[in-house]
Symmetry: C2
Subunit: 340 residues, 2 copies
């Protein structure tokens, strides 16, 4: 089968890979309807995260079940399914508490390479959620967004305890940040401040429900958010970048007693304990337990109540994955969908 | 009036200070019934926190109102009152959200010096809570504990979302940690693991409701707590020390999706962002908004349902404050009560 492989910084190639097949009786193999490039794929692409040898890429996927292992009960061949970037059994105490991305049996899907024609999904019963029926083609990008970026933005909003009457700020205007805006509106936020300096992203943020745009970063951005909140800071701040600057901007933009939901994968971040102590904020985040939200997200998408697929502003054939990486690296595209 | 003053590391003297008096119309002056030495007083006493010149000490207090300013409405002379270490207006949006120790008008009481015969309390209406009647002498230590260490341990348990059916660990066996055990039992925790290597403190922890004692610190302590929790970690962990080691022990002892409540004043702590991200814990804490809890704590004490005053294992006349500091510094006493 064909699949994208990272050979070194800036060097993504679509080439022949071994066919995905059932290895364990709890596996499923799906034929991908669509896949995509994630902001987190850019860390190794840019050489910031080391890779040891050629690495199959991709961890976002939707598709049709081709084959299931002998112990799989919840999905069957022919169904359209959505999964996420950690396979999980969905039965352990951590999963039952809603933290499937820390499942005691979890397996990263990234290593299996979802930017391909087919994908082996471990722990299929716990990991995959089927749509009620085969979705029309125009909903496929929305369902693909649910696989990671929508579920991650959603978790950011849940972790930040977004709710009616609250002022919410979102730090980061990538696909996750934009979909955190969508989630904040869904949860009834009164005001949603998007931090963005890129006009096309500001427009999409406004489409998703942002009521205010702040273009400043760092302490200037903090000051602007305080200006908008009687000097107190926002009730809820969603961090969707993962750098020292963005984390500190998020913490400092939050009022005492407020909530920071952080979902940008932290790189080189060190939080000063004393400042955090006196900030009085709640801090929660991490790799989003997307599985927790998938049934609700699929339902909202199938009823066309949300349109997260608009974050895909470039679609390419899988064979042109290298161009997709370039477009995201150069910020020419928010998020690139790949058609196998 | 007489009061304790820190002149330099290890040098506490009880000497004549200017009388406490009404400065602002929102002030009250109270005659102290009892005061005490706090673990946080040891930071400047040990020279770890710098002081600029002679500093009046103490921020824990109960006593009888002597005089009130012209705008004070909620307390009156003759009442027995309890306050906490930050004066707060109790009306601003931050106070109304329950974070009185981050009140927009807050004033630290520490600078006013509560280890004395009299104390000026700013923002008296927002800060002080009167008991229903003058308490009997034997309840005074319990009420004094409510002023800081009980309220702080209580906040730790609330921040760690302690509740029925949960396994709770408490890192730190000072007065705050021990009273966090008391709070955890009050909130219905199923198992309470106290981290302590000091036998008298272990006994008091058991009296307050600890079901397990762990003597190991750092990663060994983490391993012991994981052993007790099917390898998952505790649901709720209360951190009551404030060092890098204790914070990391608390975070690593918490299961994914669990809650760390941290109330030890952070000194030199840097939290590694990536580890925190993948830990999936909730983190909340800071200077305890004791005012939020005072009405409930006073009620529980007056009905003799809790006995937090047992943390005072040494009582001295105010004039012997220096010996009180020495006893706590050398860990000969858990907490020292001073009688003015």
């Amino acid at each position: 089968m064909r699949g994208a492989v990272l050979h070194g910084p800036g060097d993504v190639r679509v080439e022949e890979r071994a066919d995905a097949r059932i290895v364990l009786p709890t596996d499923a193999v799906i034929r991908l309807s669509a896949t995509c490039v994630c902001g987190s794929d850019l860390w190794p692409y840019r050489g910031i995260e080391a890779v040891s040898g050629p690495s199959p890429m991709g961890h976002e996927y939707v598709g049709v079940v081709q084959e299931v292992g002998s112990e799989v009960r919840n999905v069957k061949p022919g169904q359209f399914v959505v999964g996420s970037f950690f396979a999980s059994d969905n039965t352990c105490p951590i999963c039952r508490a809603g933290y499937q991305s820390s499942c005691v049996e979890r397996e990263p899907v990234g290593g299996l390479g979802a930017q391909a024609e087919y994908l082996r999904v471990p722990l299929a019963d716990g990991t995959l959620v089927a749509t009620p029926e085969l979705p029309p083609d125009d909903l496929v990008p929305d369902l693909l967004a649910a696989s990671d970026v929508l579920g991650t933005g959603w978790f950011g909003a849940v972790a930040a305890q977004v709710g009616p009457g609250k002022t919410v700020a979102v730090v980061g205007d990538g696909a996750v940040g934009l979909l955190a805006v969508l989630a904040a509106r869904h949860f009834g936020a009164e005001r949603i401040i998007a931090v963005s300096r890129h006009e096309p992203r500001q427009k999409l943020a406004a489409h998703y429900g942002a009521t205010h745009i702040v273009t400043e970063r760092g302490d200037e951005g903090v000051a602007r958010i305080k200006d908008l909140t009687d000097g107190l800071g926002a009730h809820s701040v969603i961090e969707a970048v993962g750098t020292q600057e963005s984390m500190m901007q998020a913490i400092r933009s939050t009022r005492a007693g407020g909530h920071v939901g952080y979902v940008g994968v932290a790189h080189g971040v060190e939080l000063p304990g004393e400042e955090l102590f006196f900030s009085h904020v709640h801090l929660h985040g991490g790799p989003a337990p997307v599985r927790r939200f998938l049934p609700e997200l699929i339902d909202l998408i199938c009823r066309r109540e949300i349109d997260p697929g608009r974050v895909f502003d470039l679609a390419l054939p899988l064979e042109q994955a290298a161009e997709g990486y370039r477009a995201m690296d150069e910020r020419r595209a928010i998020k690139v969908l790949l058609n196998p």
